[in-house]
Structure formats: C-alpha cells, structure tokens
C-alpha cells in the first residue's frame, strides 16, 4: 500500500473498496427498484449532497422531494419533471425536508391529462 517514489497510487485493497462501495454512493430504495408501472403512486425522493467547491457542508441536509404519478401506466409519455431547487443558493443545513410545489402540481396535471 505504500506509495511509490513517483507519487503514483498503489492498487486498491479490498478494505478501501469496501469503505466506499458499501457505505457511499447513490442509494435507491428497494421499492423504487422493484415498483412496476400501474401498481402504485411512485414517489422519488432525492437527498442532495453534491460536493462542489465550498458548498458540500452547506447543503448536506438539503432534501428535495418529487412526486411522480404513475397510475396512468404510461410514464414514458410524461414530461420530465425538474427539481425546482438549486443547491448553489441553498446554504441551509438545518432546514427540514421540503417539497417542491411546482414539481408536484406538474405531476398531478400530467396525471390528469394522461387519464
């Protein structure tokens, strides 16, 4: 594991791999992974902790929720829903979970149209 004189890294040990791939990275709730269209209303909730210079800690607790109507059974036809928040302007470590109103109403509208 010791670094070579050139400063180039050694190959990864299993411990280093485990530290990352079992504890870090994108997590998707099992229900979102197995839900098939037409069975239930699917809600995709994203917790945003994107590291960017100087902003990592600031939005460590910034949580956005986006609801997606899937009852119509034809999600492909629904327009993509965009998050309304930007982490660059939300330095709010203690702000509780919040929902993005526009996204929700947009989803509802689309659901209504689809029906």
């Amino acid at each position: 594991m010791s670094v070579a004189a050139s400063g180039r890294p050694s190959s990864e040990s299993l411990a280093e791999i485990v530290d990352r791939i079992l504890d870090k990275g994108l997590v998707v709730d099992v229900w979102a992974r197995v839900s098939v269209v037409g069975i239930e209303i699917l809600t995709v909730e994203a917790r945003i902790v994107v590291a960017s210079v100087d902003t990592f800690l600031h939005y460590a607790k910034n949580i956005s929720t986006l609801e997606i109507a899937s009852q119509s059974g034809d999600l492909e036809d629904l327009q993509n829903l965009e998050f309304g928040s930007s982490p660059m302007v939300q330095p709010a470590p203690d702000v509780p979970d919040h929902r993005i109103g526009e996204a929700e109403s947009e989803a509802e509208e689309q659901e209504a149209e689809a029906q």
């Binding site: 400063g7 791999i17 870090k24 998707v28």
Partner: protein
C-alpha cells in the same frame, strides 16, 4: 399498452451522461457484459443478474469496483455517479422511472464532478513515533489545496492514523497531485506511512438517496 417484462433483473454500477454503450467487462455475479439503460440524456450502466440481493462476496465487491474503474477509464465518459453495492432493479422499467424522476439532480451532480476523480490519502504514524498531528494535517492541506477541487475528512479509526482524507482532483491535475503526494512522502517518510489510493469514482463527493414515500 404492452408492458414488456424482462426475464432478468439489472445490477447497476453508476449513472453517466447519455450515449448507448456496451463494455466487455466482467460484472457482479459472473456477468460478462455491461451495457446501458437510457432515459433521455442519462444512462445507467448495468449488467444482467438473476437475484435482487447479490451476495457481498469479495469477488462481487471487486467486480463492482472494477466495472466502475473501466467506466472511468473511458475517455468519452466525463463523469460517473457511482451506485452503492447491491442496487438491483427488477427491470428496465423502474430503472428508467428512477432516472426520469431524479434526472435533474443526477444531471447537476454529473456536471459538478465532470472531469474529476477521487484520490484517497491516509497517513499512518510509524510504530512508536510521535508526530505533531495538527501541523501535519495543516501542512498536507496546504500542499494539496492548489492541486485539488475539494477534500473530505474520513474517520480516524486507529490511534496511529494521523490523516484520512479523500480528494476530488481534476484529471488534468493528476500529475501535479501525484507530485504533491510524493513531496509529502519525502517530508514525512521517516515518521509516517503514506497510503495513497485511486483513482476512484467520486464516492465521497456524491451522496444521493432516492426513495419511495409509501
């Protein structure tokens, strides 16, 4: 409307920008082929798997990491949001649904990490050696600040561990970063063991959870 049911589930490794791709790489659970499932500009890199709960064997853990290494070494892929181990989707349908629902945040994350890699640095005190931890930590921060985008502190799980950090480094700055690490090793070679690893997918700089409100 016809719903096509896939016979196989999909093991996911990460999310990249666009482009249909196929990689002849060994994957988790004996897979021999990686390919992409796309939703508009996003692609999830996947392989077929017959279980929703792959075992955490050494072989599978390494396969997950190696697949990501291969993705990162592709010059056409500027960024990858790495998945945690074990993210199996029942079929392409829920996967596309998740990509669609989180498209905005995934796209923004990919933009943030574009062209970067994660490098790991641990400094471990040699047996019986006492070092001024604070001055070492400050000195290292100073040496690496100019050649990295961001640093994160990881746990000091051992008394001998003086420093345990991950650095987000521009690919173009890798040589300079390597040189700075070599400088650190020269400076502290007698008292500290340098453990330098990477490049990794930016695991310590991407923390996303997508759930279902039931």
């Amino acid at each position: 409307m016809t719903v096509i049911m896939a016979d196989e589930h999909l093991y996911t490794y990460g999310v990249i920008d666009g482009a249909d791709r196929e990689l002849a790489v060994d994957g988790v659970a004996g897979a021999t082929r990686l390919y992409t499932v796309e939703y508009r500009t996003l692609s999830a890199v996947v392989s077929d798997i017959d279980t929703l709960e792959p075992e955490q064997t050494d072989e599978n853990l390494r396969a997950h990491d190696e697949a990501l290494q291969t993705i990162m070494s592709d010059e056409d892929i500027e960024a990858v949001v790495p998945m945690r181990f074990g993210m199996v989707f029942k079929s392409a349908r829920p996967l596309k649904n998740v990509l669609r629902g989180s498209r905005s945040v995934l796209t923004r994350t990919l933009n943030d990490i574009e062209g970067t890699v994660e490098m790991g640095l641990k400094l471990v005190a040699e047996e019986g050696v006492t070092v001024d931890r604070e001055s070492v930590r400050e000195d290292v921060s100073g040496r690496l600040r100019g050649v990295s985008v961001e640093e994160t502190e990881n746990g000091l799980f051992s008394d001998r561990l003086v420093l345990n950090r991950s650095y987000l480094v521009e690919r173009d700055d890798r040589e300079a970063f390597d040189a700075a690490i070599a400088g650190i090793e020269d400076e502290y070679g007698g008292s500290l063991i340098t453990q330098y690893t990477g490049p990794w997918a930016p695991y310590n700089f991407v923390d996303l959870e997508i759930g279902v409100d039931r």
